[in-house]
Structure formats: structure tokens, C-alpha cells
Amino acid sequence: MRDALRRLQQLAERRLPALTRFRRPEPMPIELHRRRIYIVPTGFGIGFSVLLLVMLVGSLNYSNNAALLLTCILGAAGASSMLIAFRALDGLALASVRAGQAIAGESLALTLEFESARPRSAIRVDLGTACQAFAVDASGKADVTLPLATTTRGWQPLPRLRVWTTWPLGLFRAWSWMHPAQSVLVWPRPEGGGPPPRLPADEGLRPRLHRGEDLAALRDYRSGDPRKHIAWKASARLGQLLSKDFEQPESRPEWRLDWRELEGMDNEARIARLARWLGEAHVQGRRHSLWLPGQPIEVGSGPGHYARCMSALASLP
């Protein structure tokens, strides 16, 4: 039943865009105004009006004017709440959307920044199945974070957002659509497993240790050692000259990840493998560079570098 209704709604929006006010994507900030806010009674609102009708007939029948007055006040208050529901949305603006980072298949945290000249309460945003309520306080700003489901890597346009409220009494539901013209970048999903990247050829020849600042060990004096490296106290104890050996632990060799080395694979498989290597390099803290067609990225490390590489990978054609 629900699915049928949704299909009907989609059909109507496709066929009758003018009537259903199917909103084309529009640049931000998107401000709600009277021509795009719709109001219908909720189920509770309909039930409540039936109850009011019963109260009306009852008080008329018993010609009880006090009860009639009470019914009228309650009914008028309920009707006025419709205007308050409208005002809750009128003038609300979506200033910007900040997208988080996510790999395809995971949900992406989308932060919506709402602005309003006056405080508002109990406004809800729907994004797909996710719904989040928020209030705008006196500062006039509110951030709402919603998860956005992703499927494939690349630029993903933002879907329509529904902003709605049943404030103040839950009798009426005012809503409006916002369709920001913005896309978010979804990172590629790394492959499950595979070979490590081929290391540069001179990897094995490099000395295990190299000179550094940290004291590593004491060893027999060899002629030519600087005098200040001699461990005088230890030498005196043992009766032979000992030298302090300084070293710096070798960082793992940096990876030069290259699109061209993965010949013979299709694009997505290449991207998935590179994504896995990038992830491993990031976790191990290994310095890495990335060569992609048209955009070589220099060696670097850290979250910023990782994000840059992943974004470059994601935006490949």
C-alpha cells in the first residue's frame, strides 16, 4: 500500500511538476517562503476535528452555551495553530551543506546549516529514511547532521530534503522541499585483499641504521670515532674504550603508488586496489605518493594528504 502510494507520488511528480511543485535543484542559500510551504492536517488533526464536531453537536443539542463557547475557543485555537505551523517554516533558510567523508556503501555525515532571523522549535528534516529534529535558538543558526546513504564512488548529487514541522499542537503538518544544487564526493571502496605495492628496487640496499640523535648502544672503539662519542665512564669501568653508537629508527619505506603499474586491470579494480593501499599507508603512517592520470600527487602523509589522494581517486572518470 505504502509502496503503491510512493510510486504514485513519484509518477505524479514526474508528470505534473508544476502541480506537485517538484523542486529543481537550486543554489544555496534556500529560503522558505509562503509560495513553497504546504500545510495539511495530520491524522491527529483530523481526529481532533471530529471530536470538536461531536462537542459542537453535543453542546448545541443540550443548548449549553458555555460548552459551545469552550468548543469554539478550542476550535479557534486549533485553527490558529495552523498559522503558527506556517510561521515555523516561513523565512527559514538553508545556508550551506557541509559533507563529511565516507567510502561508497557507508553513510556520509551531512551537516546542514540552517539560518533564521527568529528562534524556532521542533523543525524536522527528512533525508531518505533519516529524520532529525532541531531548533533554532536566539543565535539564529542551527546545524543538523544527517546520514546520507552512498552506493558508488564519485560525485553524488544531494537528494531532496523535506523540512517539516507539526509545531505547536501536532494538528497540522507544514512542509516544504529543499533541493540544494550541490554534490558530495564519495570515496571509492577499497578492495578486500590483494598484494602489497611493489617496492622501489633499491629498497634492500639501504643501510638498516643511519646516523641519528638517539643513543642506541655501546660498541668497541674504532679509530676515527669522534672523541665526544666515547663513553668515558663505561670505558673506565671496563678498561677498554667504548664508543656511543647513535642511530635513528628507519621509517618504513615510502610508497610510490602509481596508476600505471596496475596495467591489465579494469578502472574500478585499479581504483579499489589503490584505495586499499592508500588506506594501509595511512594506517601505518607510511609516506606515500600517488600518480593518477593527469594529477600526480607528491609524497606526503597525514589525514589531509590521505583525503587529497582519496578525493583524487574518487573523482576519476
Partner: protein
Amino acid sequence: MIAILQRHADEPRLDTRAFDLLCLTMACVLGVHASHLPWWLGVALALVLMVRWWQRRRHGARSPLLLKLPLLALLGTAVVVTYGTIFGQAPGSALAVGLLVLKLLESETSRDAKVGVSFACFGLMAALLFDQGLLATLVVALGLLPALATLRALEPAQAPSNLPQALVPGLALLAAAVPLALLAFALVPRLSSPLWGAANRNEARTGLSDSMSPGNFTELLTDDRPAMRVSFDGAPPPPRQRYFRAYVMGAFDGFTWHYAEVASPAPVAVEASQAIHYQITLEPSHRYVLLSLDVPLDVPPGAHMRRDRVIMADKPVDELTSYSLSSALRYRLQPSLDMRHQRWLQLPSGFNPRALAQGQTWRQHYRDDREAIVRAALALFHDGGFRYTLAPAPLGRDSVDDFLFGTREGFCEHYASAFTVLMRAAGIPARVVTGYQGGFWNRMGNYLLVRQSDAHAWSEVWLDGLGWVRVDPTAAVRPERVSLGATAAAGDQLDWMQSGWLEGLRNRWDVVNHWWTEGVIGFDALRQRGLLTPFGISDTGTAMLGMLLALGTALFVAIGVGWALWRRERPEPLRQALRRLEAKLARAGITRRRSEGPQHYLRRAARALPSQRGELERLMDRYLELRYAHDEPVPELLREFQRAVREFRPRRVVK
């Protein structure tokens, strides 16, 4: 119940604030119904409410089904045992209030709360079926506040507030709703006849009844509720003439006087020499009789006059009723008795032998001097050690004998009854008349307020050439009864009520009440039809009312939408100042063109007014700096610019 719980198990649970407000709503409903629920039921429901509130607040737990079902059964049984049925106004509302309180036991989700609040609104309205006074209506209307606040509290994400703060927006909403509500109230077409059973059929009757036995006024005489309000065309009659007659009772069975139906349609003759015209607004009495000042001369529409000049309405007075009448203040009522005058002499045999003997003694002594007999009887009451009290000793089988020769204490009923029996024993046609006597003249409202406690009984005797003459034997014992009222005459009780400011307060309050009963409660189909009389439309039909209602609602909707669409433009001081400068320059003949920038415009102005060139260029520089050098104009510089604009006077170019 289980099914419902399972279906809505996924809904979010009520937070503490919403549940507190829901409990408060239910407590309000219970409170406004408390006056007519059996006290034990009210206490039990209040206990259930408090325990449930405490339990959820403390443990946050649901109530077990094992508790809910027996409580439900118990409630049903209690209502059936108490009232004998679950149908009807009183048992129905008792059951409804009980169910509402029990609903709290299973209120866990916002859906439950919404259902609860809706029916609580209905419960509040039902309370008005029992009492639609001003105070009761105000209390019930305030009971809507927690209901509205509960609905608000169900909405997510709002600014935090404490409990009293949560109630305020509801009050504002109700206040904003008042104009539209009043419009709808005035224009919703009233039903001229009810769709189904009339209300209050089984309600206990209060007020005067069509029979009178010594002692049955006791409750009435301490009842301070208004019985009717009377306004006179011209000056009100003096207090001694404020006798409002209801029933004329001739049939006596030894203890009780009855109003006997007199079938003959033609009322007895009356020769009136002074008439007075007045309007009576009668509170619902659920009886047919319409009160009239002394002897009525005409009949209001929808009523008829019986033989004894008692006015009976065609249907019971179940709602506030207003009517106009003329009455005679000086009159000869039934100057000649007809064949059936024997019924005014009838006395049951075997009752009150001593009173009969007394009457016969007077008859032998005074012969046919009937007025002397009346005087003798009044002298007996005045000098015989009689006492006026609202709490007399009970009387036995020979009630008149016991009263006259035993207890010698009582109030109007005792005196009127005993006097009439004495008169009949002495051979004088006599009867008892009941009604109201006295009342309070309200200067602010210019009307006479007659309370239930003004109920009174007096006698009438038939004298040759005078007809029926009113004799008030109570006045012989306690004249204050006639001049001040029953409670004042009783002396010992409630005398603080009479004192000073409190009495004044009560009478002011009654003006408000009068306005409420007249303007709101008494606004019936008839009054509604005459709504547009001041505008020359004597009969406003249903279609007209509907049209007016639609028009009025449209007007209010327009106002409301205007409010909703109105956005406060924050006036920008810098722009305002520039506008002011533009206006000044425009008067000097230099108008800013469309699409002309401020710099260009002011330069042009400086060229056009060479004498003020320097001044204008300074203004331009300041403006440009204020506008473009900072995100927000610097306040000091802005004030300076505003002052400079204020002081700027363009001098006309001398050509």
C-alpha cells in the same frame, strides 16, 4: 491492550515533561468533575493518578496488565453500583473521567498522550453540562492549558522551559483564539429543538415545588443561588410589595399543602387599579410554573394562565427563560366567590383538633367580623411566644397543633400553614400561596436579584368586598423577614454575609453573573434570530447566519494570514539617513535617478550646489566609509553622519 502496546512499541516513549503535563491535564479533568462524582470515587481516582505519576517518574516502568484489567473492571462495577446504569449524564461522566485516569496507566507513547489529551478536552466540556456558570466556565477553560501544553511538549527539539513557562504559550494561543471563538459562538446556528433527548431530565429538582409541608423549605432557604432577576419599567415596587407568586395551594391533607390542578380555563376576575410592567429572567427550575409579581394581568407567549392566575409554561423551564409581564399592585382579586368556594374551607377530618377548636371559638366570639378574626390570629402569632428560626423542632401527626401549642418555632411555611388552617376553622375561605418574597435591589445593574433563599409562603383570605387579601403571618412574628430576608430574620446564622464590603462584593459579582447568564448562557435560538435587529433585519435566518459566519471567518483568516506573512523589516539606520539626505536634496531639485550610485549622485549634488560643495563631499566621504570600510557601520561614525544629515540645509541655487 497488548496489541496496542506491541503496535506502538517502536514509537518513542514520552519524556518526563510530557507525562507530567498529561497527568496535570487528567488532574484538571478530575478536578472540574469532582463536585458531582461520589467522593470515594474522586479520591480513588486521584490516588491512582498520583501513584501512577510517582511510579513512572521513579521507576520509569509500565504498569502491569494484571493491575490495569482489575482496575478497569472495578471502575465499571463502581459506576453501575452507584448509579444503576452507565448511561446518562452523571454515570457517563463518572465513567469517562475514570477511563481517562486509567488511560494514564498505559500512556507510554506520544500517540497515547494525544488520544488522552483529546478525550480530556471532551471531559472538560462535559463538566460544563453540570454547571455553566461564569466561574465554572473560566476554570474549565483554564483546564485547557495543560492539555495544550501537553500537545506542545510532544513536539521534539524545543527550547528548555520549566513547568509554568510551558503553560504560557497555551494561554497566548487561547487568548488569540478568543475573537474568532466569539464570532463563531454568536453565529453558529442554534438548534430550535434538540436532536435527541433533552438534558437534565433526571436531575434533582431544586427550587419551589408544587406541594408544601412544614420544613421542606429548609434546604431552599439556605441556598444562595439566584432564582430569578427582575427588572422593572419605571421604579421598582417597595419591598413590602415584592411578593412573587408561584403556586396557589388549596388542598390540605393534614400535613401537606398541594397545588391542585384547576381544569377550568378561564382565570378568575381581577379588578386592577395600579399596574406595573416588568421583565423576569428565570433560572432553570425544571418545572412549568412561571413566577409573577403578585397578581399577573397578562400571559407571556408560550404559556397559559390557570384559574388561580397561576402562569404555567407549555414546557418545563430547563434553560434560562426571559419573559415580560404586567401585574396589578392594587387589586380586588375574585370579588365574588362562586359555587365552589367550599374548597377554600375544606379541612381533613381527624387532624389538628385543637386548632379547629380555636378557630371555632373565634368564630363564636367575633361572629361575622372576619377582619377581627384575622387580627386575632395575627395577635396570637405576635404575642403567643412564637419564634422565627430556620431550624425548628420536628412536628408530629397533628402538625398545626404541635406547632401552635407545642414547639412555637418555625419559619414561613409553619406560619402560613397554621394561619390558613385557623382561618378555615373559623369559616373564612383561605389558602396558602408560595413563591419568593423580597430580593436584593442591585443598583449597578438596575435589577432585583431574587435568590432561592428568598422562597416564601404566605396566606390569602377571602373577605367580602375585598376579594382575596394577602396576609403574611410570618411578618407578625418577625417583620424583618419581609423587609430584610429569611437569613437576616433567622438572626443567628450567616450574618457576616450581610456585613458591608462582602455584601457589596457579592452584589458586584452578581452583576457579572447576570451579564454572563443574560449574554452568554441565555443566548438561544430566539435571541440569535434577533441578532441583527439593530441593523434593521428583524429575523436572521440560518442561511444568513452561515453567510455571516463564513464572511467573519474569512476576515479573521485574512488577519491571521497577514500576521503569519508579516516579516519584520529591520530598518537600517545608514540607509535611512541617506534617504533623508536624498529627500532634502530632492526638495532642492536634485533627485536621485534610478540606478544612480550614491557616490555619483552626491558628486552631482555637490556640483549643483557649489556653495555647499565641501559639506556635501564630506557627507559623501563619510557615507562611503561607513558603507564600505567596515562590515558593520561604526556606531559613533554613524551617529555623526546622522547628525550631519540632520543639520544639512540645502540652499537654493541662485541662477
